[in-house]
């Protein structure tokens, strides 16, 4: 039996000829965002999708912020930082992070890590790893995951609220998520190992991080970083001081150097992903703090402030780094001495400070 077909009610397509170039009139060719100066002749997609999205009374925001905190702070106060700038908006993220780069990059990383773990599994690598190394991984490599989580959640995440421009905040926000992803990469690798290695101490990292004397100065340092209220000091102390002296020291100065000789080709690739993220964040930090050190009006004061932060954070960081030294001795196949790793970190630190235009503190000089 035929069914009666009712005419469906749907919008009808209409030819409107509303495409670019259909008519010529004033502004018909005005096809670029015209309220900011791009760094080069044409704006990049990153610049287009980032600049001025967070308004600023110093730029176009004519009515000011319409809500404030109880103390009168409104919007994105510049005095939330001890550092001053003649133009905060001059900072552009050297990594040019926006939607596409964020998801392409991180999706690639998690895919790569999953594949590497799978290769380890199919190659029966985990069972063949040196038992002393397995203990180091269970305790120390996975203790590291806590640190990345803490910095991502409680240093970078609030800092991306507090900085004064969208360009700085987005760059720090991406840094936060790198840290959190890396922490999860590590702990999920722990889960994989617990399924592959009989007797694997999958929870040993918790006690190591919270109780092992080797890690307590580092934990104290990280907790200290999370307690800094000034976003620029927190970002400086983390990216400029902590990352080269402790972060790189452990990630590439130890794990990535030592693992292969212990029969482990998987762990260094996961650590490498975190190291690569940290290098991206450091590019941003270098550009930001260099810009502030070079500021025509505030440069000298900024340098003095940053130098003060170096005096404050470097001794604690060097102490934390040195307390990690016993880990270098816990593996049976010695590949690198702690002092060699630390020297490399020290040189990286000095080079970074030199790029920013700061003096190396005395505690760290060779």
């Amino acid at each position: 039996m035929a069914t009666e077909v009712k005419e469906r009610s749907v919008p009808k397509p209409v030819f409107t000829d509303a495409e670019a170039g259909a008519k010529e009139f004033p502004s018909w060719q005005s096809r670029s965002y015209n309220y900011f100066e791009p760094r080069k002749r044409r704006a990049t997609v990153y610049e287009d999708v980032t600049i001025d999205v967070q308004p600023d009374p110093e730029r176009h925001l004519s009515q000011g912020w319409v809500y404030s905190f109880a103390n009168g702070d409104a919007g994105y106060p510049q005095d939330w930082s001890a550092l001053k700038s003649s133009n905060w908006h001059a900072f552009l993220d050297p990594n040019e992070e926006w939607e596409q780069t964020i998801y392409r990059n991180n999706a690639n990383v998690v895919r790569q890590i999953s594949q590497n773990i799978e290769h380890g599994r199919t190659g029966h690598v985990f069972q063949a790893m040196n038992p002393a190394w397995v203990k180091v991984v269970a305790r120390h490599v996975f203790a590291w995951a806590h640190l990345e989580q803490g910095i991502g959640m409680h240093v970078y995440t609030p800092a991306q609220r507090d900085a004064p421009t969208n360009m700085i905040n987005n760059a720090i926000c991406v840094g936060a998520v790198h840290k959190l992803r890396f922490a999860q990469d590590l702990i999920l690798y722990n889960l994989a190992l617990s399924e592959e290695i009989e007797g694997f101490e999958d929870k040993a990292h918790i006690a190591t991080w919270q109780e092992d004397p080797i890690w307590q100065p580092t934990r104290e340092l990280v907790e200290g970083l999370t307690g800094i209220r000034d976003w620029s000091e927190a970002f400086f102390a983390t990216t400029v001081v902590f990352e080269p002296l402790v972060g790189e020291l452990f990630r590439s100065g130890f794990v990535m150097q030592a693992a292969a000789l212990q029969g482990d080709f998987v762990t260094p690739t996961i650590m490498g992903a975190g190291e690569s993220d940290a290098a991206r964040e450091q590019r941003g930090a270098r550009a930001l703090f260099r810009m502030l050190a070079d500021d025509e009006t505030h440069g000298a004061a900024n340098k003095a402030t940053m130098q003060g932060w170096l005096e404050k954070w470097t001794p604690k960081t060097v102490d934390a780094a040195r307390q990690l030294q016993p880990i270098w001795s816990q593996i049976s196949e010695k590949v690198i001495r702690f002092e060699d790793s630390f020297d490399r970190s020290r040189l990286r630190f000095e080079s970074l400070l030199s790029d920013i235009g700061l003096e190396t503190p005395k505690e760290i000089k060779a």
């Binding site: 004033p26 502004s27 912020w65 404030s68 998690v110 609220r161 934990r219």
Partner: protein
């Protein structure tokens, strides 16, 4: 990843957090709420290993559709009436999105629950995604739509136009003041859970009906992240409800957040959907019908009312009054009329309504023509450049330029509801009792005898008209940058005709002085003021001055 492995993975990542012992955590963002540690779960089990590839896949679909739209000449079918309103909408929305990212540490700092922190951190990067994907969509519109003017100055226009502050609350409200008021109740419990339905679902549907399938592509991709955000917010409000001391604050904040979201979002999205469309099929859903479905039924009845079982008093009266404003008091129509009245001070073109529109409005909102029809006929008549002024400055339009609401910054358009009061040494006007309460009672350091030292304040130069009081309109337009690249023709137009001879220029607005109703009100004697306000409240609908 399989569901079982997601569960396992999610369980495993809970090992990452720890209780600091060396340093007392710093309260970075103040709140008057109190939270006890509670083992609240994240039912969506968010893990970054599965999150990033999922979002990448969603992005690939979005960018594929964008390519397809260009190759398929989508802009040969888009309605200019619709696209012009996108110049306003897409200038506003990336800011609330990015503000939501900035709001996440407020909630993280306040709520002692690592599982919830994890969900909030993922929301943070979602919001960067949304903000930048929307800016990129707008960039495509600017490149491929017939009239790029207005898209080209987008974020500047948002920051200085007569509608900007209305939209800006929908972002600033997330990031400032009491951390839970802002980042949980205002942002997640009300804005995301209730109003993203009309923003990101109903509106894209209307875009598709107007030939634009990119807005639905991008915004449905955005909306598919919202369910996770809603889940984050729900976890937090349940934790807040566990502490009796929070009840009074929650009830205060639900009243403020509900009413402000209604005032701001319904004003903007209602206008875009009802007055930006060319789809006048009589059976297509009106904004009021969409609101009833998405907000009243799906949000209020299915989400908000069940919270009563936890002993929370829900603002039933305000939900009903919002509906009353939309259905009986013509809120959307009054706002659209105000936007059109102010065409001279924006960065998009506003098409007049024609007979087909009238028929649809009359069908959907019986009695509409008697209230608003004549004015829209006058709008069309006065849209022609033939020696007269913009409609706002022509007495024959029979429209009294409205006072602004000090709180929501939408004007006091439902004239009889206007409240006038001296607050903080200034005579202010409010669109409603609730907006008056918000300024005078809620956003104060004490609430019902209880200290609320963390509550935020209303600040800034809240009235656009006051900022420009006494200035020449031609100077205002030049100062704000609302002039096309010939240095003479205005970006805004009261019609869609792109014939340069028909387009309004600086010449037609020079010599007109803009006055702020609030400045004039404050200059009056108390008696004059009372008389003026009594007359104002007798005015309307459709902005008609009170009969003598």
């Amino acid at each position: 990843m399989s569901r079982a492995s997601i569960t396992k993975a999610h369980q495993k990542i809970q090992e990452l957090s720890w209780e600091p012992t060396f340093v007392e955590p710093v309260d970075k963002y103040p709140t008057d709420y109190t939270f006890e540690k509670a083992p609240k779960k994240d039912p969506l089990k968010q893990v970054l290993r599965s999150y990033f590839p999922m979002e990448e896949e969603k992005d690939n679909r979005v960018f594929g559709a964008m390519d397809g739209a260009i190759r398929g000449n989508m802009f040969r079918q888009v309605q200019e009436r619709w696209m012009e309103w996108q110049k306003l909408f897409l200038s506003i929305i990336p800011f609330p999105e990015i503000s939501a990212a900035r709001a996440m540490p407020l909630a993280i700092n306040a709520v002692p629950n690592p599982e919830v922190h994890n969900g909030l951190a993922i929301q943070m990067i979602d919001e960067v995604r949304h903000s930048t994907i929307q800016m990129n969509l707008k960039r495509l519109y600017m490149n491929h739509y017939i009239d790029p003017a207005g898209f080209d100055l987008t974020e500047k226009g948002f920051a200085n136009c007569y509608a900007g502050t209305i939209g800006r609350q929908f972002g600033e409200g997330f990031i400032t003041g009491d951390a839970i008021t802002a980042a949980n109740v205002y942002l997640t419990i009300v804005a995301e859970t209730a109003f993203t339905n009309v923003l990101f679902v109903a509106m894209p549907g209307e875009a598709a009906a107007n030939g634009d399938y990119l807005l639905p592509t991008v915004f449905h991709s955005v909306q598919s992240d919202e369910s996770r955000h809603i889940s984050n917010g729900y976890s937090i409000i349940l934790m807040a409800l566990a502490d009796e001391r929070n009840r009074q604050l929650l009830e205060r904040d639900l009243r403020y957040a509900w009413w402000n979201n209604h005032a701001v979002v319904d004003a903007a999205i209602g206008t875009f959907i009802e007055y930006g469309t060319k789809d006048r099929r009589l059976d297509r859903e009106s904004y009021a019908e969409a609101w009833r479905r998405w907000i009243y039924d799906d949000y209020y009845r299915s989400y908000l009312v069940p919270l009563e079982k936890y002993g929370l008093t829900i603002p039933h009266d305000l939900v009903e009054e919002s509906w009353n404003r939309i259905w009986n008091k013509g809120y959307i129509h009054e706002v659209a009329q105000f936007f059109a009245t102010g065409w001279f001070a924006n960065y998009w073109r506003i098409d007049g309504m024609d007979d087909k529109d009238f028929e649809w409005f009359e069908h959907k909102y019986p009695g509409w023509y008697d209230k608003y029809g004549r004015w829209w006929e006058k709008y069309t008549e006065l849209s022609k450049k033939n020696g007269h002024k913009p409609i706002a400055f022509e007495a024959e339009a029979n429209y009294q330029y409205p006072h602004r609401c000090w709180t929501c910054m939408v004007p006091c358009l439902i004239r009889e509801d206007t409240v006038m009061d001296e607050v903080d040494g200034q005579v202010r006007t409010y669109c409603s009792e609730t907006c008056h309460w918000t300024d005078k009672v809620a956003f104060r350091p004490e609430y019902e005898g209880r200290p609320t030292p963390s509550m935020g304040k209303l600040s800034g130069q809240r009235e656009w008209e006051t900022l420009h009081h006494g200035k020449d309109l031609g100077d205002i337009m030049q100062d704000l940058g609302y002039v096309r690249d010939d240095g003479h023709t205005l970006i805004p137009q009261p019609h869609l005709n792109l014939d340069p001879k028909k387009m309004w220029t600086l010449d037609e607005v020079k010599g007109i002085t803009l006055n702020s109703p609030n400045v004039l009100l404050n200059e009056m004697s108390p008696e004059e003021r009372e008389q003026h306000m009594a007359e104002y409240k007798r005015g309307g609908p459709a902005g008609r001055p009170a009969a003598a």
